[in-house]
Symmetry: C2
Subunit: 353 residues, 2 copies
């Protein structure tokens, strides 16, 4: 006999001999359930299990106005930087039984708008935005603010009091990086800085400058170049390659190179190799991020590790707190967290002889 497999709460009520009200109270363990005798509960639970009852989430959500989902918007999923963050988010939400609804905006404004609309239409209870590249401008922020659900942005420092944020401490990270090179004896260090419009660029440079000032390290302007603007994470490889070629061409000797991020560092290593310079024998190279490829690169890349899973987990936890706040009608204001990165020493850097 083929059962249509649409068991409703009424079927369970009939099977157990109680009303659907009681079934609902028992299965949801609602406050009123404390009045219901264990025997009744047992019978209802047995009936539910026997029939394989699964509540219809549409009906439940329609009535309760809750979806138990969290919208996650990534600006570019193919960027290796983001999958570990997503894992952190996922694991935290999983524990709290929220389902993440992940959308990939692909750096397109139109997709951002459409997906935001779709997520709000589906009544996600909160929003996590992973701004791993450019184009988080005023408009986007405004759209997010007017959504009026708990929102946290990862990777972008904010000063709003409506949207929370989780970022890495770029200044300290950059500090760690130069410090590492400095301690290895390097004094002639080339820098490939991030694009000016990217929020991470300034604090990283600030970290370098303050380290230089405190130690007397000289920053030679002829060894400093900037990445151009771009939306495409891959393009920072090309740019790293070209800028390093340019550095070499300048004939200004350097024994180490600090790249804005790992992919830029990969481009730099390629250019050095092309010029017959081995890493780290002729030149040390350090990156930033610690994407997965770092550990299987040849040579393995020394870099600054962003605590990606932790950042994802923190964002998820903030958002869950936010949801709870809304449920309890507490007024919760945005928080801004900055997580410390750490130095990951591998084989692309070495001390000067």
């Amino acid at each position: 006999m083929v059962k249509t497999s649409v068991i409703t709460i009424r079927d369970v009520a009939k099977e157990s001999g109680f009303s659907s009200t009681t079934v609902s109270i028992v299965l949801n363990n609602a406050p009123l359930a404390r009045y219901i005798p264990p025997a009744t509960k047992k019978r209802i639970e047995k009936a539910a299990k026997k029939l394989g009852y699964r509540p219809n989430l549409f009906a439940r959500s329609l009535r309760s106005k809750r979806s138990h989902t969290v919208g996650v918007m990534v600006f570019d999923m193919t960027d290796p930087y983001c999958t570990l963050i997503l894992r952190g988010i996922e694991n935290s939400l999983y524990q709290s039984s929220y389902l993440p609804i992940l959308t990939d905006v692909q750096n397109e404004r139109s997709r951002f708008e459409r997906y935001l609309e779709m997520l709000l239409d589906r009544r996600v209870e909160a929003l996590i935005v992973l701004a791993n590249w450019l184009f988080v401008d005023i408009d986007v922020l405004a759209d997010l603010e007017k959504s009026s659900i708990p929102t946290v942005m990862i990777g972008r420092e904010l000063r709003t009091d409506t949207v929370s944020s989780v970022i890495v401490d770029n200044e300290i990270g950059a500090h760690f990086a130069v410090e590492h090179l400095y301690q290895l004896g390097h004094r002639k260090i080339a820098f490939i800085r991030g694009p000016k419009t990217l929020a991470d660029s300034a604090p990283r440079w600030q970290g370098i400058r303050s380290f230089a000032k405190s130690t007397g390290l000289e920053l030679d302007p002829r060894l400093i170049l900037d990445l151009p603007e771009s939306q495409d994470p891959i393009s920072s490889f090309e740019a790293g390659y070209k800028l390093t070629e340019e550095l070499i061409k300048r004939k200004r000797p350097f024994t180490a190179l600090m790249a804005f991020d790992d992919v830029t560092a990969f481009g730099a290593i390629r250019a050095l190799a092309k010029a017959g310079l081995r890493v780290p024998e002729h030149c040390s190279v350090i990156g930033f991020d610690d994407v997965a490829a770092c550990s299987f690169y040849t040579p393995p890349l020394t870099t600054i590790r962003q605590p990606m899973e932790a950042m994802g987990a923190m964002a998820a936890n903030l958002v869950i707190e936010g949801i709870n706040g809304v449920l309890e009608k507490r007024e919760i204001s945005a928080v801004h967290r900055k997580l410390a990165p750490e130095l990951a020493v591998r084989e692309s850097t070495r001390s000067l002889p």
Copy 2:
């Protein structure tokens, strides 16, 4: 004045002066809409826009029994192999206005089961499973079959007639790879094969054998090693490294190495470098997959490119067809598609002098 922003269809009805029935018919462009005069439509649409009406999807889905979502299950999101496939899926679904609900099973059976349950509870209309690593066993298949919604699996050949599949043509891919090495003059070729339990392994080896037979290329058993079982994609790097060390230790000369996949190839290159062997000067290396890191590796890795976006798009299209089939009560049987990969020549291979 603060509006609670919960505009219902009745508000639109009141504003436009028609009943909610008519509003529903017009806004959904339902069959009956053809009887409704343009003037009425205009007024209703204007009222809806004026109020900023957004239909409540829970109510809609409850009544219509449709969710406009597709469940996507990935076995390991951090595997670089899968993000491009996901992009293919996403882009296809986006065009058809289906929302993908992506879950990362993290190679855990318990997560698979829980997420499958969650997705079915949310009434996804179809399922795409991205089996990028091991452990797709009988049980999993059985779970999928009994879900009785259109399902397609990517990356795993199936013989069922309930679950569709999309895979790459491994045999031809491997053929292309050896052929490339052979044409470059290589005759002493080492092979690191895939783990025996992985479905891709056998056909790839078959492609190599048939090429060898047809050209008279000799396959030296002392130059052939197998990757061990594992669930972790990163571990194939370690394994590639160790096995290549082993190959070198055997003192059996070889001028080229074909790795099971790109990450294994990266491990092999590392081992060769450690032994003082440069790629491609002393040894050519070829991989399989064409993950993003290939193009920024040093040297850039020659490999067999899987048409990942196309595979994702095809899976999505199959699933959409399946959904349409169900809606029209057509009985649609599973289809099995095999897509051709292509050779991507970069700089890790070169012709023998």
